[in-house]
Symmetry: C2
Subunit: 322 residues, 2 copies
């Protein structure tokens, strides 16, 4: 009944950690990692896809563990020189990272879809699983803040998440289509689970869910949909998730993230530290250590999440036979 | 009568050596270096201006003396990664060099003229003299070869000057205008000399001369026009000058270059080694060591050329009074 294919919806850093864990325990063909494109942007004339790149670098073992973002063995000659020339240097682009953006931009201008270029980069960088942009259509996250509407990277990098967020919008989402391979995977009888990685719900996962038809496709899919909380003990491991929750009128908690996803979820994995919130969560809860500091912890959490998904699927089958 | 301003017409490497010598003996305000734009091109979505950049790097002391082209202290992470991604890597772009191209392209797309951007880069890189593109309009050198018509960089870099050259054309030259500051300089009463640097006549100097109105402006200018031979003892110091001369039906010699420039020249500086060709040259010949291996030789040749120009100007004045 339940098959082998796992779809993981992911933003950048946090999501990539779990995606890496999944990549170690699944065959490459059995993992489809769907990347948020809401924080893609044009900068210095280049098309930059931060989340897809973070996923590729992480899955290829090329991620810069010292910086926590960007590429391993990076050099900074370009940026140094750009600064000397008076160029826009608020978004740091390493010399190796830059090659991805230049080559992606060249191929996009030639008319190739983002997904095809991403697949080719994965192959060339030695990434096993497929990394698929949620859509090949333009979709951009915008934030209404106390400083007005901001482009995502203006908010996230230039202003370092300082503005107070009032509202989010995903420009282009209504006109965008989920990538056909993503839709096919969600309809696939061999689908084992959809995993919502522990990414920021507002700026990493919801831009994926906002693509026209995505929520419907997820609701219709037979396999369990299970999310991992990005909040542990009321705090985000990294990034502005907790701050944004507060600004948007939510209590920053693991339970509130599950409530935000609503009936999209069949299961929810939250940290042992948040056990007292389990009763507030509608989908079936699995408690586990969710902080992924070591590589072993990524693999272990991946096992826990898949185990929880498989248990949900069994339960579902049992109920169907009942 | 004769003033202080010196205009130097230059291509890349060879011309930049003399321009550097001139920059050491002239006040920065007294030197206007006019750069060939015929080998500018679009590559990887970037506007690359090889000759202006070589001039800037050389005049700023940032030239890569080890490679003989590009920037000092260069790193190659971008190129390495681009190769790994299957990108177009036949044109080598260092990480620091790349910053110039990215920033130039960004500003061109914003509508700034090439000359304004170049002037700003010069200021930021610490280049004293003005480096001025011959024109802000598009002008591209094309070569008809035994492999058909080729873009300049296809011929020069990708095919390493191997094809046999039959004919050259300067696309856009008829519709291009010399930069107004160049025209003003040529009309300036304070103009001391126009120096045609020892660059390749066909691909470095003639694209400058091809800009509509340039030959007329040079002919009309009151100051002496003096060229330095790029050929010593029948051979080019660097590059395909001698090979191209042969292919175009000329004897590769210092005299033939002077003949090619024709009555544009009032004076010609050629190497002592070519003394026996002096009789074949119509403009007044100055013999000197023209090989600029050391920095001192660049300065010395600059003094010789300026001295020859000043002598021509005196002679001219004497004749006018006669």
């Amino acid at each position: 009944m339940s098959g082998d294919l796992v779809v993981a919806l992911s933003g950048g850093i946090g999501g990539a950690k779990l995606a890496l864990g999944l990549s170690w325990i699944l065959r490459a063909d059995d993992l489809l990692v769907v990347a948020n494109v809401g924080d893609d942007f044009e900068h210095l004339g280049l098309h930059i896809s931060p989340d897809a790149d973070t996923l590729m670098y992480t899955l290829a073992g090329l991620d810069n563990t010292k910086l926590g973002w960007g590429r391993r063995d990076e050099t900074w000659s370009f940026m140094e020189t750009l600064t000397a020339l008076g160029g826009e240097d608020w978004f740091r682009l390493g010399d190796r990272d830059l090659a991805i953006h230049v080559e992606r931009t060249r191929r996009l201008r030639r008319g190739e879809p983002l997904s095809v270029i991403t697949a080719d980069f994965c192959r060339r960088l030695g990434v096993g699983p497929r990394v698929l942009p949620a859509t090949d259509d333009p979709l951009r996250t915008k934030l209404r803040t106390d400083e007005g509407w901001l482009d995502f990277q203006d908010y996230f990098v230039r202003l370092q998440c300082r503005p107070v967020v009032r509202e989010l919008a995903f420009e282009g989402a209504d006109a965008a289509s989920p990538h056909p391979e993503l839709l096919a995977a969600l309809r696939d009888e061999q689908l084992r689970a959809v995993i919502v990685c522990p990414s920021n719900p507002f700026i990493s996962v919801e831009p994926i869910l906002a693509v026209a038809g995505m929520r419907e496709a997820l609701s219709a899919c037979a396999a369990p949909v299970i999310a991992v909380s990005p909040i542990i003990g009321g705090r985000a491991v990294k990034g502005p998730t907790a701050k944004m929750m507060t600004e948007l009128g939510m209590k920053p908690s693991a339970a509130a993230v599950a409530q935000r996803y609503g009936d999209l979820l069949d299961g929810y994995v939250m940290d042992n530290a948040d056990a007292d919130e389990a009763a507030l969560v509608a989908p079936r809860v699995t408690l586990a250590p969710t902080l992924m500091t070591t590589l072993a912890e990524r693999e272990e959490l991946a096992r826990v999440v898949l185990g929880a998904a498989d248990a949900l699927a069994s339960l579902n089958r049992a109920q169907n036979f009942a």
